[in-house]
């Protein structure tokens, strides 16, 4: 899959932002006034910024409101609803915490649930696609949720929770790569089933339909970046998990915390880049490519 910057920025930032909102809604940290204001500005900056970035890949962003109509069948529509509900409810909760010094905990819990639901619905947009075996796995939602929670705990300054959550996310990431590498072969789809000619012999793409490229090849067949995938996995793992965990074990100071957050963010972004760049769409088979 083409690793479009808009979707990488979107899933990385909004995952972290909604992760932070999840903890803020549960009163972790238990803050009011100016401190709460700063936390909410960061959370909204990330989540809304991510959502804005996601609209850049639309052909017609001005019609994006129509995406709220099909929540019965479409995960993308459900994601839109969850995001709007989470941001609205948490907005009310934030008004209470920042300006009135009030903790409307019921509102906070509802906001937390919808924040997590937003991350889950985002992951289901990818998980539902049978055409991309690497995404069509139960580990995909686990990956998105564990990343959101780990990053959220880190941003919320919940050091005690952040370490185990980062370790869980790291484990799921490793499992995801391990299982993902086998997913395409396991799906049973190959050029033989794609053409229906597999029972007759070995099928080879002889001649493409055209000499140039097309939308399908640009969107679904991205082979350029896979060359350095192994190195990027190590870089992502070190940045997203190793560096933050080490820093969390050191005596706390704000500078270390900032480094931990930035390192985690960079690591998650690299992981997301790989999530797209390494995903192979079955349509590539028709072109003799993966």
């Amino acid at each position: 899959m083409h690793p479009a910057p808009s979707v990488i920025i979107f899933t990385t930032l909004s995952g972290l932002g909604f992760g932070l909102l999840f903890f803020l809604g549960l009163g972790m940290p238990d803050v009011t006034g100016w401190v709460a204001f700063v936390f909410f500005v960061i959370a909204y900056g990330l989540s809304v910024g991510g959502l804005m970035a996601s609209t850049f890949h639309l052909g017609h962003p001005e019609r994006a409101w129509k995406a709220f109509t099909q929540w019965r069948s479409s995960w993308l529509s459900r994601e839109g609803w969850c995001a709007v509900i989470a941001l609205t409810v948490m907005g009310l909760y934030a008004i209470g915490a920042v300006f009135l010094g009030q903790k409307w905990s019921v509102l906070g819990v509802i906001g937390s649930v919808f924040s997590l639901a937003t991350v889950f619905t985002t992951s289901m947009i990818y998980t539902q696609l049978k055409t991309i075996p690497r995404w069509n796995m139960k580990l995909t939602p686990a990956l998105f949720l564990s990343f959101g929670l780990a990053g959220g705990a880190l941003l919320a300054g919940q050091t005690r929770l952040a370490v185990p959550l980062l370790l869980i996310a790291a484990t799921i990431q490793a499992l995801y790569w391990w299982q993902g590498d086998k997913a395409f072969a396991k799906s049973g789809t190959n050029l033989g089933t794609a053409t229906g000619l597999g029972s007759r012999g070995e099928v080879r793409a002889f001649e493409p339909p055209h000499t140039g490229t097309n939308y399908l090849l640009r969107e679904f067949v991205h082979v350029v970046g896979r060359k350095h995938a192994e190195k990027l996995r190590i870089i992502s793992f070190l940045l997203a998990f190793f560096v933050p965990v080490v820093l969390l074990f050191l005596p706390f100071n704000h500078f270390f915390a900032l480094i931990a957050v930035v390192s985690h963010l960079a690591g998650v972004a690299v992981s997301r880049w790989l999530f797209f760049a390494q995903a192979e769409h079955v349509v590539g088979l028709y072109y003799g490519k993966r």
């Binding site: 479409s74 229906g196 099928v203 793409a205 339909p209």
Partner: protein, 249 residues
């Protein structure tokens, strides 16, 4: 609505004969010609006369080589367009309701004024049947020439999809695959028509007829062949001497 209908009254679709297709791409051109100036936004090209041309097509012809365990390889031309699946994933993923499957004839269409161009339907299609138009920013796909097949302004012979009307080899057939008595259904039954990627669970309406087995070349082509074997195996006379002399050099 992007919920799929429980069932459709008819299942209009194409039957493509891989035995007959000669790979001339006439269906590709006639499809583009008809559909760029009729239903919906035109099918744009980018850099059409430059060094890196590309464009939107609703139908493309691939060619595959099949190498059996024994015998010579076979070349098979393979036209591919929307299969108008019964369980079309492109419809259910659509967030806006732009993508839909018609109850009356099962045709999968895009309402372009509702399409936000998110591309998710193309992601969900295993067949590469949907292409985003780069000029218009909306998703384009085969309409089964919905503006031809019911069009009473056209002579009756033309009320079939443009690709079917054009095919010079008669490799494309159009009809109701939901009716077991229709010509296309009989053809599919007789020739053991198949689904593409059945494991994807999309239940395609369009069927592909597999190529018929080719004549096998026997070891002995002709019963007279032994009699045609060269009579003089060893050269004689001057040529024989020359042969021996050159061997010794």
């Amino acid at each position: 609505m992007t919920q799929l209908p429980q069932s459709t009254e008819r299942k209009m679709g194409l039957v493509i004969d891989l035995d007959t297709c000669v790979g001339c791409h006439a269906c590709v051109i006639s499809c583009k010609g008809w559909n760029t100036e009729n239903y919906g936004a035109p099918l744009s090209d980018q850099d059409a006369y430059g060094s890196n041309p590309s464009g939107t097509f609703l139908n493309r012809v691939h060619s595959y080589e099949v190498q059996p365990d024994q015998g010579p390889a076979q070349l098979i031309h393979f036209p591919k367009s929307c299969l108008h699946c019964e369980d079309a994933p492109c419809v259910t993923v659509c967030p806006t309701g732009a993508s839909y499957k018609r109850v009356e004839d099962g045709i999968v269409l895009v309402n372009e004024s509702d399409c936000i161009g998110c591309g998710l339907c193309a992601w969900s299609c295993p067949y590469g049947a949907r292409e985003m138009d780069m000029a218009e920013g909306v998703m384009k796909k085969c309409t089964l020439c919905v503006d031809r097949i019911y069009n009473e302004n056209l002579p009756e012979v033309d009320r079939v999809p443009s690709c079917v009307r054009t095919c010079p080899a008669g490799a494309r057939h159009f009809g109701d695959l939901g009716d077991p008595e229709s010509d296309v259904s009989k053809l599919v039954a007789e020739r053991e028509g198949m689904d593409l990627m059945p494991e994807m669970g999309t239940k395609p309406v369009n069927k592909y007829l597999p190529p018929r087995p080719k004549d096998q070349v026997e070891d002995q082509i002709d019963i007279l062949a032994p009699l045609l074997a060269p009579v003089a195996e060893e050269p004689k006379g001057f040529i024989g001497w020359l042969d021996k002399a050159l061997e010794k050099l």
